[in-house]
């Protein structure tokens, strides 16, 4: 992975208001060969997404300013960001969150605690699926 040029590395936008989690995933993603951008809330996530157009967005759902569901709904409603896979990340384990997330347009759903390596697997799966879809 270190051999890959910096620009060609896939960009992952990590959205989480909990700094430790954000930084932990960012560190492991970079360790795993991804470029990482970070956002602390939904609004920031939207700004970063429109600006950077990442390959995958990891979206925590409980966020200040604008929650993950609303942010996802807006991303999926915008032509520029519509195609970006969104993986919902939540510490909420109750049913209903999943449904809401799906309704908002999330492409995958992951419950915290989620170990970094499991999350990276999920991100890789998303990129592969997106590539397969665009190739078709």
């Amino acid at each position: 992975m270190t051999n890959t040029p910096e620009k060609s590395k896939p960009l992952v936008l990590v959205v989480d208001d909990y700094q430790d989690a954000r930084e932990m995933y960012a560190e492991y993603l970079e360790f795993s060969g991804f470029r990482v951008a970070e956002a602390k809330n939904g609004q920031e996530a939207l700004d970063k997404a429109f600006e950077l157009v990442p390959d995958v967005i990891l979206m925590d759902l409980s966020l200040p300013v604008m929650d993950g569901w609303e942010a996802t709904r807006r991303l999926k409603g915008d032509a520029r960001t519509k195609a970006i896979p969104v993986v919902a990340l939540t510490g909420h384990a109750l049913k209903g969150h999943t449904d809401d997330a799906n309704e908002a347009g999330c492409d995958a759903y992951v419950t915290k605690p989620c170990l970094p390596d499991a999350l990276v697997d999920q991100v890789k799966k998303m990129i592969a699926r997106r590539d397969a879809a665009s190739a078709r």
Partner: protein
């Protein structure tokens, strides 16, 4: 239409025959009769004629009458009547007329011969012989007619002459007079032997020889009755009744018999009897008697009717009084008597004072009744037909007041006049009592109603409280669920970082670590995972309670599932130093159920077994029970075992066998509770067989094919 048949040609001389017949009927003796016949024949034929018959005394015969014959001829004929061998004697017994030659009879010859004709009843010995001097054997018609019509008459006369040959004969005119009397008149001797009877009497008391047997018997009976009655009277003038029978009709007749002895101037004394028919009188008397009897019966009936009415009236519990138009009491029934009648005098001694009081009360009652009746009496109240009022009478015997309702009705006669007044009393004690009770019931019921209302209000208040409590409870429950969910989230966020960093360090993201560092980090990881498990268990209970644990049914195999379980538990098994064996039924079919939940239950049971077993091993077995269509996965350990008293408790939330602060085994106490709830969601259950020190066997039973709920 046929006209009447013409009459036969008139007789040659019907007038002459009629004269003879009338004459014969008027004859009173055989001699007269014979004379009439002989004279008639002699005149008709211009020939001699004679009639010979029996005379007085035996063996004496006489010539009853003769015409144109000498005395010698007459005597000869008389002799020939009963001379043995004489032709006349033989003619008596032979029917039919005979002609005799002129010289056939010695001393009595007639020129040209003569006919001898037997006279009497047909078929009987001749009573007399008629001799007519005529030539030739042809019997002239006149002779034959005379023989047939005069014969029976003469025979009767001869017979009657023979019975009473020398009785004084009443004068013919007298006879006719007597015959004309409409009552039977008889002349008898003192013994009752009949000397003479007029026509009416004959009809009752005399029967000719040719009478019917019925008439003969009736006449005999009448004669006997008559003689008996006569014999009672003696010879003086007497009057008595004699019952006789009508010989023609057979009806009973009643006669009054008046007898008068008469001394005949020339003979023995005779008795004149006059009978007067009393039958109609008797019938009238009888009818009168019958009417009287009926009257008596009617009276009796009326009396019994009256008695019955009395009894009926007496049987009525309400007093009834019948009053006359002036207000006087005519009749009252027993209940009325008790109130209004003076008590019978002569009561037992010692009750004088009581009697005095009783009388006073009766008097008071009577006065009340009289003033009540005054409303209907007198011309002022002529238009009033009924009067109703309420009187309070006194019970004469006890003095207690009797509230009464009195209803008086006028009884009017056919002409609309007042004939009486009927008053019916009705005891109102019961009615008043009932009204009082009703009032009381109403009071009580209104009290009750008030109580019910207050109780209802209280109940409503309590209901409202309960409702509020229920809402609060619901809110509390929701709050609890929300709290647990939030807590879970708040636990997960740092735990996510802890486990994440530990994982990264163990992967060597921050460079290689020394073995002691790695060992310690592994323990951090292990404890973090345990913490996560606890959080998950709490969350599971919350999810199940909140109904947020859906079933995800799929096809899967038990062996693969058990392999997964063993793999996940491998680190713990390795550390426990216990032998864990798995035995699977060869014929274990695939199942249709919630794989995740089955796995969670088995994991839980296995981790429990490992936790409470220190030596020995754990056996996991799975089998299919065909009969019930269920799969059984059992986890058997050689651990500490559970006392029967605790076997149910351990399935409850947050319950452990030892919940004390000094307990030897940790845990939330939610594992088995979750297992049981999950098993129930699968349509199954978890069973336990255990004894302290003997180890435990937990078995999950669940249907091979779950039904979607």
């Amino acid at each position: 239409m046929a006209s009447p048949a013409p009459l036969p040609p008139a007789e040659a001389d019907p007038g002459a025959r009629l004269v003879l017949a009338e004459h014969l009927l008027a004859c009173e003796s055989a001699v007269a009769c014979a004379r009439a016949v002989v004279e008639w024949l002699a005149r008709r034929h211009g020939a001699p004629a004679a009639c010979v018959g029996p005379g007085d005394g035996p063996g004496a015969s006489v010539c009853l009458a003769s015409e144109g014959l000498t005395g010698a001829q007459q005597a000869a004929l008389a002799r020939a009547w009963d001379a043995p061998g004489s032709p006349l004697a033989t003619f008596r017994t032979r029917p039919g007329a005979r002609w005799l030659a002129p010289d056939a009879l010695e001393g009595a010859a007639m020129p040209g011969g003569f006919f001898a004709v037997p006279l009497g009843r047909p078929g009987a010995t001749a009573a007399a012989l008629l001799m007519v001097g005529l030539p030739g054997p042809a019997v002239p018609e006149d002779v034959a007619w005379v023989a047939s019509s005069a014969g029976p008459h003469l025979a009767r006369q001869l017979a009657s002459d023979a019975r009473a040959p020398r009785r004084p004969e009443p004068d013919r005119l007298l006879r006719r007079v007597i015959n004309a009397v409409s009552d039977p008149v008889l002349l008898t001797d003192t013994d009752g032997t009949l000397l003479f009877a007029n026509g009416r009497a004959e009809a009752l008391l005399v029967a000719g020889p040719d009478a019917s047997p019925g008439r003969t018997r009736a006449v005999e009976l009448n004669q006997r009755l008559f003689r008996e009655t006569l014999a009672q009277g003696g010879t003086s003038v007497h009057r008595r009744e004699v019952p006789l029978v009508d010989p023609l009709e057979g009806m009973d007749l009643l006669f009054e018999l008046v007898t008068t002895p008469v001394l005949a101037p020339d003979g023995p004394s005779v008795v004149v009897s006059v009978l007067r028919n009393l039958t109609d009188l008797g019938r009238a008397t009888q009818a009168l008697g019958e009417s009287y009897r009926q009257l008596r019966a009617t009276e009796r009936e009326a009396r019994s009717e009256r008695h019955r009415l009395d009894r009926v009236l007496d049987s009525v519990a309400d007093p009834i009084i019948l009053t006359d138009p002036a207000g006087g009491m005519v009749m009252m029934n027993d209940p009325a008597e008790r109130l209004f009648a003076w008590p019978q005098s002569g009561g037992t001694s010692g009750e004088g004072a009581a009697d005095e009081a009783t009388l006073r009360r009766v008097r008071a009652n009577d006065a009340l009744f009289a003033s009540f009746l005054a409303n209907l009496l007198g011309p002022v109240n002529a238009g009033v037909s009924r009067w109703k009022s309420q009187l309070t009478l006194d019970d004469p015997s006890t003095g207690s007041p009797v509230p009464m309702e009195a209803m008086a009705n006028k009884v009017l006669g056919d002409g609309g006049e007042l004939t009486g007044i009927v008053t019916v009393f009705h005891d109102r004690t019961e009615v008043l009592e009932r009204a009082r009770l009703l009032e009381r019931v109403k009071e009580v019921s209104s009290e009750l109603e008030a109580r019910v209302q207050s109780a209802t209000a209280e109940l409503a208040e309590q209901n409202e409280k309960l409702r509020r409590q229920a809402i609060q409870l619901e809110q509390a429950s929701a709050a609890k669920s929300q709290f647990l969910a939030n807590m879970s989230h708040e636990f997960r966020t740092p735990l996510n970082a802890i486990l994440g960093y530990t994982n990264m360090l163990l992967q060597g993201v921050s460079g290689e670590m020394t073995p002691p560092q790695r060992r310690n980090l592994t323990r951090i990881d292990s404890n973090g995972r345990h913490l996560l498990e606890v959080i998950n268990e709490i969350l599971d209970i919350t999810r199940i309670e909140a109904g947020r644990m859906p079933l995800h049914l799929s096809d899967f195999g038990i062996p693969e599932l058990l392999q997964e379980v063993m793999a996940e538990m491998d680190p713990i098994i390795a550390r426990s130093k216990l032998t864990v064996e798995t035995r699977l039924d060869e014929a274990l079919p695939g199942v249709w159920s919630d794989r995740q939940k089955v796995k969670q239950i088995v994991l839980n049971l296995l981790s429990n077994a490992l936790k409470f077993t220190h030596e020995g091993g754990v056996h996991i077995a799975a089998e299919y029970q065909n009969a019930t269509g269920t799969v059984a996965i059992s986890v058997k350990d050689t651990g500490i075992g559970i006392d029967v008293s605790n076997q149910e408790k351990i399935f409850e939330d947050f319950q452990q066998v030892d919940s004390s602060p000094t307990r030897a085994y940790g845990g939330t106490g939610l594992g088995l509770s979750i297992c049981r709830r999950l098993a129930a969601m699968l349509g199954g259950r978890v069973s336990l067989q255990s004894a302290p020190g003997q180890g435990s066997t937990f078995t999950l039973h669940f249907p091979r094919r779950a039904r979607r709920t």
